[in-house]
Symmetry: C2
Subunit: 350 residues, 2 copies
């Protein structure tokens, strides 16, 4: 009935494998890590022993000596500020943008056998927790997506010597790597399209002007319109939510009832604008052409589907992750930024 075996068969260690293969721990370690030459015959023996014993390296032990966590953090910072009922209910997921970033990050990380640690740093307390956690060496680096341009987190992270890469250029120019899209050119594409479609009275719904990306999209659009001979562009500020798009459209319509084109700084606001336009009996695109920005799922979910500026978020997130791993690999690598091009996706709204 009762045998001498322990209830939980402790998982095999390097030592066990070494014994099974008749070699030393060091040799097994070398085979596993592919370091130095090991005689092919011995390699084969070791591999077989690993398979037989079902050995899996213990990450904690490895981390202890290599001083590498083998993990990276995906930090969403300055996410929302106000919480709904309950302890913590982030709205950040409601925006398809975040999901796309996560997809890109996971897509790059996964083939490399690493998975991101998901962290939110939406206020000072959360930020402090975040830092404390990262200090413990839980992650070798962080990819960071901030909704707030003046977020102190990037500075804090680099200050503590943790490799970090941002999604989007930081507003105070700190020495940190980042990826971004060429917002100005993207906005110009939207302007060109509206003008080419014969729109003479285009307006724009901007993102929060504290965000550099929103600024760039606005100025890019304005400059391009000016170049086309439209020096004045009505604009209303939103905050990237669908609701704010509805309200901004409401204001624009009130002041400029004759407008015939709208460029919204993201798809969610464009979608909101669509709702308001319909509510006011304006047909899209016949009466008013609408162009969004991002090419998110909201663009195809809208009626009519949105003509929009494609923001290659997934690719950018993958690149951001690649840059991070490079920095982890070689901490002295100089900071770099990679700027992606935007392109126009023409659907039915303009």
């Amino acid at each position: 009935m009762s045998d001498g075996r322990p209830p939980v068969p402790a998982s095999p260690t390097l030592e066990d494998v070494a014994r099974a293969a008749g070699v030393s721990r060091a040799t097994v370690s070398r085979v596993i890590n592919g370091i130095r030459n090991v005689d092919p015959a011995i390699q084969e023996t070791v591999r077989r022993a690993i398979a037989e014993t079902g050995y899996v390296p213990n990450r904690a032990a490895r981390s202890l000596v290599t001083r590498r966590a083998g993990a990276v953090a995906l930090v969403v910072s300055g996410a929302d500020g106000e919480s709904r009922e309950g302890p913590f209910h982030s709205k950040v997921f409601a925006d398809p943008f975040f999901g796309r970033v996560a997809s890109g990050v996971v897509g790059f990380l996964r083939p490399r056998g690493v998975h991101p640690i998901l962290m939110f740093a939406e206020d000072d307390e959360a930020r402090a927790q975040c830092i404390a956690y990262l200090r413990q060496g839980n992650a070798d680096g962080a990819v960071l997506v901030s909704t707030n341009a003046t977020d102190p987190l990037p500075g804090l992270l680099t200050g503590m010597g943790l490799p970090a890469v941002l999604f989007a250029r930081p507003s105070p120019p700190i020495p940190i790597s980042y990826v971004d899209v060429d917002h100005r050119t993207g906005a110009r594409l939207a302007a060109d399209h509206l003008v080419a479609a014969g729109r003479r009275r285009s307006a724009t719904i901007t993102g929060p002007l504290a965000v550099p990306a929103a600024q760039d999209r606005l100025s890019g659009f304005r400059d391009a319109m000016a170049a086309h001979g439209h020096p004045y562009v009505p604009c209303a500020e939103g905050d990237f939510t669908q609701d704010s798009g509805e309200h901004a459209m409401e204001r624009l319509l009130a002041e400029h009832p004759d407008l015939d084109g709208v460029f919204a700084a993201n798809d969610l606001m464009a979608k909101g604008a669509l709702l308001t336009l319909r509510h006011h009996g304006r047909r899209v695109p016949e009466d008013v052409a609408v162009v969004g920005f991002d090419d998110s799922s909201a663009a195809t979910a809208s009626r009519p589907p949105l003509t929009t500026v494609r923001h290659p978020v997934e690719d950018m997130a993958a690149e951001m992750t690649r840059l991070l791993l490079e920095h982890v690999e070689d901490p002295h690598r100089p900071v770099t930024s990679v700027i992606f091009e935007a392109s126009l996706v023409v659907r039915e709204s303009a």
Copy 2:
């Protein structure tokens, strides 16, 4: 110019703190972990030494001896199957449901100083990677949300002795803890509301019938309608996406042009149904009343806002996480399931 200090001041260890406080490592460890009585005066000295040195415990070293990772995995399984272009582009984030789960999990975990490791297991290969990763001891347990009821992952995880808790009852009854909502009663609420509003010819748009939750919502709705004297309920199957809701509504309308009420098994499909109804000139709720399920962000984003059955996803996710931590704490704890109640949220669509 050049001093003897190393370029990177290695972070202080327990030993350093002990030296600074004039006590032994063991005492510092006891203070940090709050184990056994330590003289208050000494405790104070130790705390001061910790603050002075800026000591932060090294997680890897601690994990090595405690055999605890101090982390849990948030696994999304059977997510999509088909990928878009590129290596991995999950659509799972497009559904607000997942975001709500993540919110609930993070909300519970965060005050406890732990952060989830985000993992996807959408196919066999990914699942194998997932298992391998968890085997390394990277997480003490996993909370699992499967879109596919016959997902083998829950069985695999418990099989390897890893604590796991599911969101939603597994379809083959395996011994594993889970949380779920009372789908049948929720669906009854929807039926009662439609009947009370005087609707005589209600139909339903179901989720994929392979999913137990979709089954339960359908049968709950049918049974309640039967109890109200409507033994026959037209139904069309969708797959929980907005598009599928549009198409299902299209079919229902073709076969039952006189219907005056619709219960969709989730909000996204209800939203799709709204689009189709408007396209056919049906007014909501005057001509057709629409009730959704979930009370997700899609419910308030719809025009008109959806009357829907509230699915307390965040609370359920928090409870799921709580159950997981209990299992991690005490592996012999019996499996438990917690069923949440659904409630009706009345807005404008019905």
